[in-house]
């Protein structure tokens, strides 16, 4: 079988989480320790989808050693290392995210040097955000750290959607919007390169929480709007941005949340995007209010999270917003989650107010939701308006 046919055969298996089968197919072909790099990469992926991250990382390290210039292998290794909490090398390999064939053109080719982490008093440092809103919310905490470390004047550049939340944050000297005429600056740094440049360690987390605050007027508005809602108010998000590369793995349906429906709990749908209309057909017994059409921007989301007792969400930007606001949130994670959630733990060093629920096996939302329904019943029994995660 040539490599293309082989690829066509194993890819669907890997996507379906059938890593053990792929492992059984590939292992005999690699028995003598040799074999082509793509086969080894397939084996690493087969181990990853089984949750055997450390085993996979060993193979990926070997591949990086053998083919150092293959940046996609380096990026794969970065994901495994970060998932294991090995920050130092992980952040370094993560810096190849813009050297991939499909990302090279989207790298912002800033014509000033990147900050190297050393003090630069008197200089101007431009810190700019990247693609995902969640990433921005998560790594905004490092802006003030970068200012303290560099001694520079810090100009923070963010996208329109996160601009007004950012404007209330501390730790920078000026704020600018992506695409607009930027002020003068001497050095720059992408927000997600700050961990590498500053050598972020697990023990630095979470830093000062909350680092984002809601707009008091909006909170006022939503407090009024939700005054009549009875019982525990649980904001809910069941799908991420459909264009995300891993969306099939992380998104679910409202119907799948049926077991969460219980007396004394009112769900507030803050779902945005194509599936926000699902709220019109809730699972039987679920008490749910659709707020989505009333949400104009992240300021509304932040205010709702402040008023609600809890957020239940798939791995999407509202989770990070809740975490940054120090509001309780429960995250529903796929069996092989994004690197930032690490493996095998219910809490996260990034956000003390966030609790993690993981699929017990590949694609098994049902098991996850059942566990979560019990946890929800427990806090409902403990009384309303608890701030415990």
């Amino acid at each position: 079988m040539d490599s293309k046919d082989f690829e066509a055969k194993i890819q669907p298996l890997l996507v379906a989480g059938r890593g053990a089968e792929v492992e059984a197919m590939v292992t005999p072909l690699l028995a003598n320790g040799g074999g082509p790099a793509p086969l080894w990469a397939a084996l690493a992926q087969a181990l990853r989808v089984q949750g055997r991250i450390a085993d996979a990382a060993k193979i990926q390290e070997m591949l990086v050693e053998a083919l150092p210039g293959h940046v996609s292998t380096r990026f794969d290794l970065a994901e495994s290392l970060l998932l294991m909490g090995e920050f130092e090398r992980g952040w370094r390999e993560y810096s190849y995210r813009y050297s991939l064939n499909h990302t090279y053109r989207i790298e912002r080719k800033v014509q000033r040097p990147r900050w190297d982490g050393r003090p630069i008093p008197g200089k101007v440092l431009l810190i700019h955000d990247e693609q995902g809103y969640g990433d921005t919310f998560q790594f905004m905490r490092m802006v003030s750290w970068a200012k303290a470390r560099s001694g520079a004047q810090v100009v923070l550049e963010v996208n329109h959607e996160t601009h007004s939340l950012a404007s209330r944050m501390r730790g920078f000297d000026a704020l600018t919007l992506r695409g607009e005429l930027p002020p003068h600056f001497d050095v720059h740094c992408e927000m997600m390169s700050l961990p590498m440049v500053m050598g972020l360690k697990m023990s630095d987390l979470p830093g000062s929480i909350p680092y984002l605050t809601p707009d008091p007027d909006r909170v006022q508005h939503w407090r009024k709007r939700l005054a009549g809602v009875k019982g525990l108010k649980v904001a809910v998000v069941w799908a991420g941005r459909p264009t995300h590369f891993n969306d099939a793995n992380r998104s679910m349906t409202l119907t799948a949340l049926a077991p969460l429906a219980q007396e004394g709990v009112t769900f507030l749908s803050i779902q945005k995007g194509p599936s926000e209309g699902d709220v019109a057909r809730p699972p039987p017994g679920m008490n749910i209010i659709g707020l989505s059409p009333e949400i104009r921007d992240f300021e509304d989301t932040a205010a709702i999270l402040t008023v609600a007792d809890l957020l239940i969400s798939v791995d999407s930007s509202p989770v990070h917003l809740a975490g940054a606001l120090a509001r309780p949130a429960w995250v529903m994670l796929p069996f092989l989650p994004d690197w930032r959630w690490l493996m095998n733990r219910e809490d996260t060093p990034w956000y003390p107010s966030v609790r993690l629920f993981r699929q017990p096996s590949w694609g098994n939302w049902q098991g996850l939701v059942q566990g979560m329904a019990k946890a929800l019943a427990d806090i409902r029994a403990a009384g309303p308006a608890g701030n415990r995660p």
């Binding site: 790099a37 053998a66 083919l67 150092p68 210039g69 293959h70 940046v71 380096r74 190849y96 050297s99 090279y104 053109r105 912002r108 080719k109 800033v110 014509q111 000033r112 431009l126 700019h128 550049e157 600018t176 919007l177 695409g179 607009e180 005429l181 930027p182 003068h184 600056f185 720059h188």
Partner: protein, 720 residues
Amino acid sequence: MNTTPPQQQISMEQALAQAHAHWNAGQADQAERLCQHVLAIWPGQADASHLMGLMAHAYGNLPVAIDHLKRACQAPRVPATYLSNLAEMCRQAGRLAEAEAAGRRAIAIDHGLVAGWNNLGIILQEAGKFDESLTCLEQVVTLKPDYAEAQNNLANTLKRLGRLAEARHHYEAALRLVPTYAEALSNLSNLATDMGQADKALTYARQAIDINPRLADAYINAAAAEQSRGNDVETLRWVDKLLSFQPQHIGGLLVRTVPLRHLDRLDEALEAARRAVTLAPDNGEAHVAMGEALQALGRTDDALAAYERAAKLPGLALEKAMVNRGICLMEIGETAAARAAFEQVLALFPRSISAWFNLSDIMTFQPGDPAIAAMEALLAPDTVQARNDRIALHFALAKAWLDSGNDERAFLHFDEGNRQKRATFAYQADAVGRWTQSIANAFPASVFADPDIGVGEADDDLPVFVVGMPRSGTTLVEQVLASHGQVQGGGELATLNHIVDRIGPYPAIVEQLTAAGFAAIGRQYIDHVRTLSNSKRRFVDKMPSNFLYAGLIARSMPQARIIHVRRNAADTCFSCYTKLFTREQLFSYDLMELGRFYRDYESLMAHWRSVLPPDRFIDVDYEDLVGDFEPQARRLIAFLGLSWDPACTDFHKTKRIIRTASLNQAREPLFTRSIGRAGRYTPYLGPLLAALGIDQVPQAAEKPAKAAKRAPRPAKERAR
């Protein structure tokens, strides 16, 4: 909040200033829109065109970038920076003449433009104008000592000029300024290789790759480090790492041809060189690599044409092209033309070590020859610094002093050249001794007891193996055989060695080989040489080291004939010691190790002689062949099952390619001056003679042929 005002309301100056600010921040879309706005009003406007060019360059579109910059540079009062940027982009595109013109215009307009001097300095360096390049880059470093790139570029030029110590100083200066400067580390790696420090070189290259895994040169330099210690397999591995992400990298394709040639994968070598030539038809080094592949394939005329093509192209390939042309002429026996070719090289490149080295092999030096003084001068400190060049120079000088009768000076150079060469690799005489003994053990007499000891197919007469020590006369024997109308000479083939290597560790695998396994080895070998045999009945492979495989040959090719060429031990070893081999003969660079290897070889041959049938294996003594030619030659031809051909007597007239260290001797009629030759040098050969167990070597007698016949063999053969 500042937002961009509608474009029609802003002036051209404002639009350009904003475009620059956007591009500074990496906002290409906005910058491009503003530039287009300017260009719509004023087509070809210089500043907007320049900025468009810079952006195209950043996104990797070099031809478009150059177009924009050329337009920008048409402006009557073009800023020097634009010309300097155009120069650099033309250099990157390999358009050196345009690059140089633009670079010179830039500094003519603004004499203080640091980047302009820097860019012109690199262009001149690539064009081989090192002295001018040096002037430019020294200027830059003076104007701006903390400019790391300039320090690195200056070092590159110094390195090209052979001023390695100064080059290192400037690389290190660059790295003090920017410790993560991957290019400087990579260049330092190459410098270490030149200085004979392969381990250091690999460390630097690895560091460079660690910082920037896409830095192609670092892979090339790692490959060069491995190549410098003769490690072909590791060399290929590094190049393949590079080609895995840049399959069309010219330098990578070219570096790849060297180990492929060494591994006898000549078609692949030619294919890689061809691809490079197709991709970069104006690259002289690509034509040189193609010439080398063609030369290895025996296609001399094509090789010469490739070298001539290379010599006409701009760049750095000229010296190598000219030297290779000389070697090619030497190989086909055009000695006078070869000599003229090397002298031509030296007229242009007086420090060309490879020209001196080859020239010294074909000429006979007289006392007081000015060439000797010229070579000695090159050994002075601050002249030739590259380790391999210095080694070659010592061997060339030793030959020259020996020719001219000054043995003492000759041996000073032999000893120094050998010592420096020996320091470049690891070798364990004990392990080699155990290994040759294990080969004998793997083929006990019982293996050959069966009357049908070979298991291959006997329908093909082809293979003849001429084996022995290097420098023992194998080239002469091949030349004699190949003069026969039904014999094709094949030179030294690594084919059998590669076939065995692919199967497993030798001789450990012998035990596991079945009759069919041996037959398969024979078939692979015969299939390969049949393509080279020119439809002759017999084909001669004179790789001397095939003596290690004599038993395996007998087992796998029943029709094969093995001719063992013997020569006086002291003469053989002395001759080895005076040669700088192109392929590794690791035993040859220390007199004691050389003697020990000879003893190991000798006892393995004694074993083959006692176990192989006389119709498969014979000995011929070099001294007999030289002293009493025709009977010996007839004996060899008869051994191959052929009838006598008088052409064999005039073997030195046979026109064919010879490509060994002995090539200039096989062209001469028989000479006896090399019999008993070592005797003259006894005082210098102590450790060798001790290892060989010889107390005294007789001097060459007045009637050398006869005396040679009696030349003593080492006292006793070790009984095993």
